[in-house]
């Protein structure tokens, strides 16, 4: 029923957890993935907020009219210049806001749509479920990029580029996957007794969906949100790289557009400072969100943690205890290396 075998499984034990989570969420999460991902995401968010203000130059201004060759990084231009002598660092800082804003708007709106469609379909069942599921499937199979190119082709004639509007349009093609996952989760929750108990108590349908089912879906919602933000970054970058969205509107995608049109990667001396920073920025922002996503998965599904995927010392402890368990602290006979050499086993010896 679900398209992603991993997601519903990971979210399965969720209903038993959130209560415990209250205390746990106050601490810094132990998972290294969450820490790194969170750190990177916070960094990018700060860049998005203050980037345009701390940019050393106007990103669009040609700082010199004498040279037509991109300059490599220098003290004056930390990330070098473009062909028309614009400061790459300023473009990167200025373009970050648009890129991140668009992706966050796309992620938020798509998640809201996914909740509205998925939870309603899963809870209501019957013809409404059939209808909403069909709609989600249509959006799922529709090729998103060509559709968006057509939509933005119309929009760019009438309106100047607006980050919120762009995010809204992208979200239209990004909600269906999350809706399917949430429908599947809702279907499994709907049969739980606490939903029946709420009905017996006289709760209305919208309240059951919003206050009984949705809180149990928080991990799925968070995962879905991060997933669609990644989708938003990729799609927005692709669209502006293709020049579908006004190339005068600075984003990491338009930087790549200009670098590509100047053939920065095909010159004799590859002008890496021009195309690498925006490309890396997109990649690292996506990585941050993906790390957070993995972290949430582990947070929600203790089985992944038990498997030692976080690499926390937890993995080493049973070994040490097993070594101590040897009779009298002597190396156990089932450890051939220690027995043959006569040397004390690395840990068994200490225990004696």
């Amino acid at each position: 029923m679900s398209l992603a075998p991993g997601v519903p499984m990971a979210a399965q034990p969720a209903p038993s957890l959130p209560g415990r989570g209250h205390a746990r969420m106050l601490r810094l999460p132990r998972s290294l993935k969450i820490r790194v991902g969170l750190g990177m995401a916070v960094f990018f968010t700060i860049v998005a907020v203050i980037g345009p203000w701390i940019a050393p130059y106007n990103p669009s201004a040609s700082l010199s009219t004498t040279s037509g060759v991109p300059q490599p990084p220098s003290a004056a231009h930390w990330l070098g210049t473009t062909q028309v002598q614009q400061d790459v660092l300023s473009q990167l800082l200025a373009g970050g806001r648009s890129t991140i804003l668009v992706s966050l708007v796309a992620g938020a709106v798509a998640t809201i749509l996914a909740i509205a469609f998925g939870v309603t379909a899963g809870y209501a069942g019957g013809w409404l479920d059939d209808l909403l599921s069909m709609l989600a499937n249509v959006f799922l199979v529709m090729p998103a990029l060509p559709l968006l190119i057509v939509i933005f082709g119309f929009l760019s004639r009438t309106a100047s580029p607006n980050d919120v509007l762009i995010g809204l349009v992208i979200s239209v093609t990004g909600w269906a996957y999350g809706a399917r996952v949430m429908r599947a989760q809702t279907l499994s929750l709907r049969g739980r007794d606490f939903v029946l108990a709420a009905r017996i108590a006289g709760e209305r349908a919208w309240r059951i969906m919003a206050f009984e089912i949705l809180p149990n879906l928080v991990p799925v919602v968070a995962t879905s949100f991060l997933f669609t933000v990644i989708y938003g970054v990729g799609t927005y970058t692709a669209l502006s790289f293709l020049g579908v969205i006004s190339v005068a509107h600075w984003s990491w995608g338009t930087m790549l557009y200009w670098a590509q049109s100047a053939q920065a990667a095909q010159q004799v001396h590859i002008e890496w400072w021009w195309f690498l920073p925006p490309g890396l920025a997109v990649g690292l922002f996506g990585t941050a969100l993906a790390l957070l996503n993995f972290g949430i998965d582990e947070f929600v599904n203790p089985r992944l943690r038990a498997a030692g995927l976080t690499g926390r010392p937890r993995r080493a402890r049973p070994d040490r205890r097993a070594g101590r368990a040897g009779p009298g602290g002597r190396p156990r006979p089932d450890r051939p290396r220690a027995a043959a050499g006569g040397a004390p086993a690395p840990r068994g010896g200490q225990a004696a």
Binding site: G19, D193, F194, A201, G202, N216
Partner: protein, 374 residues
């Protein structure tokens, strides 16, 4: 827990009198249409509950006993109006129920249901306070926060979760199974219902805490005059708690009567099987009837008495028609051709191999002292 002594409730025997029963079901039937599957090619109709008539007097406890798949949970859902009957009527105070959503709410305020599994009937994301406050808010019994807190504390005290302050802020996972079931009962009591439907309220609990919850139910009836429908597969606990017992098999009521009579002198072969299945060190193993249940035993036949493949007294007439509930006197009734009035003794012996006296109500069983309930 200061429940009444074991003898106190059960020894009362027959249902206490009252002119109009509080909750009454007449000929309730519910069929489920099922999709075609390998087990049922071409789909089919599951007759979950068939023609069940039952009356719950005020402040009485009746037990509905039956094995898995006997339709007792469907019956209790019908009684709670969670599902609509295929046919039959439900009466509250002798009056039919309005279909409007307002009528439903009012019914829900009077008749509350406690679900079987306390591990899934409480939402893990909400604390005890929330679970108790919601019904109060929905039915506008309390509005302000101090009012709600006071009401919640009162409810927790009623189900013996004391001190209430210690439990109010707890989440379900912080409570034991017995404590959770008490919270579930408190939630049902929040709207001050007159009828409590308890669907196997102790089957998911540790044996050690079952008695406490059963005594709580007995106590609620004793103190607050709550009428209780207690659904169970454990006939011993039914005898311990209930005034009257109704035994169900394959969606039909096969025997009903005062708890002591039904358990001491069971008239229907199925009831005898149920009682025989309850472990009893005093009884030699040979006296038990062949076990098996709806899932592992022979399939339930389409026509005639549904119990006949497992019945040691099966006769030819059993395959022809379903026996009606026949009155055996003293409120005791049984749906078995062995007790049917329509057949004379000669006819009976001509039709089948069973003799009425053979396996029924042996004196030893009737004379045996009441067993202690588990």
């Amino acid at each position: 827990m200061s429940g009444p002594a074991a003898g106190g409730t059960a020894a009362r025997g027959g249902a206490p009198g009252g002119d109009v029963p509080l909750l009454q079901a007449r000929g309730l039937t519910r069929n489920f249409r099922v999709r075609a599957s390998r087990a049922r090619p071409g789909g089919g109709l599951v007759r979950a509950v068939q023609d069940v008539t039952v009356a719950l007097p005020r402040a009485a406890i009746i037990a509905i006993v039956g094995e898995s798949g006997s339709g007792k949970s469907t019956l209790v859902k019908l009684l709670a109006r969670l599902i609509r009957p295929t046919s039959g009527t439900l009466l509250l105070d002798g009056a039919p129920l309005p279909r409007s959503s307002r009528g439903r709410r009012e019914f829900a305020r009077q008749v509350q249901l406690v679900l079987q599994d306390p591990f899934s009937s409480l939402n893990p994301v909400h604390d005890v306070r929330y679970h108790l406050a919601r019904p109060l808010r929905i039915h506008r019994l309390a509005r302000t926060r101090p009012e709600l807190d006071r009401a919640a504390d009162g409810l927790l005290e009623r189900v013996a979760l004391t001190p209430p302050g210690q439990f109010r802020g707890k989440y379900p996972h912080e409570l034991s199974g017995g404590q959770r079931q008490r919270v579930a009962i408190a939630r049902a009591l929040a709207v001050r219902p007159r009828v409590l439907l308890a669907d196997e309220p102790v089957s998911m609990l540790d044996v050690s805490v079952r008695l406490g919850v059963l005594n709580l139910l007995a106590d609620l009836r004793e103190r607050d005059g709550l009428a209780i429908v207690y659904v169970t597969h454990d006939i011993a606990s039914a005898r311990y708690l209930a005034d009257a017992i109704c035994v169900m098999y394959a969606g039909r009521m096969v025997e009903s009567g005062p708890a002591a009579v039904v358990t001491d002198a069971p008239a229907h072969p199925y009831t005898q099987l149920l009682i025989g299945a309850a472990p009893d060190p005093d009884r030699p193993a040979a006296a038990r009837l062949t076990p098996g249940d709806a899932a592992t035993g022979p399939a339930i036949p389409a026509g005639g008495c549904p119990f006949r493949p497992r019945c040691p007294h099966a006769m030819r007439v059993c395959a022809d028609a379903v026996p009606a509930l026949a009155d055996l006197g003293g409120g005791h009734a049984s749906a078995c051709w062995l007790h049917a009035d329509g057949l004379s003794a000669a006819e009976r012996s001509a039709l089948g191999r069973g003799e009425r006296a053979a396996g029924l109500a042996p004196g030893r069983r009737a004379a045996r002292p009441r067993r202690e309930a588990r």
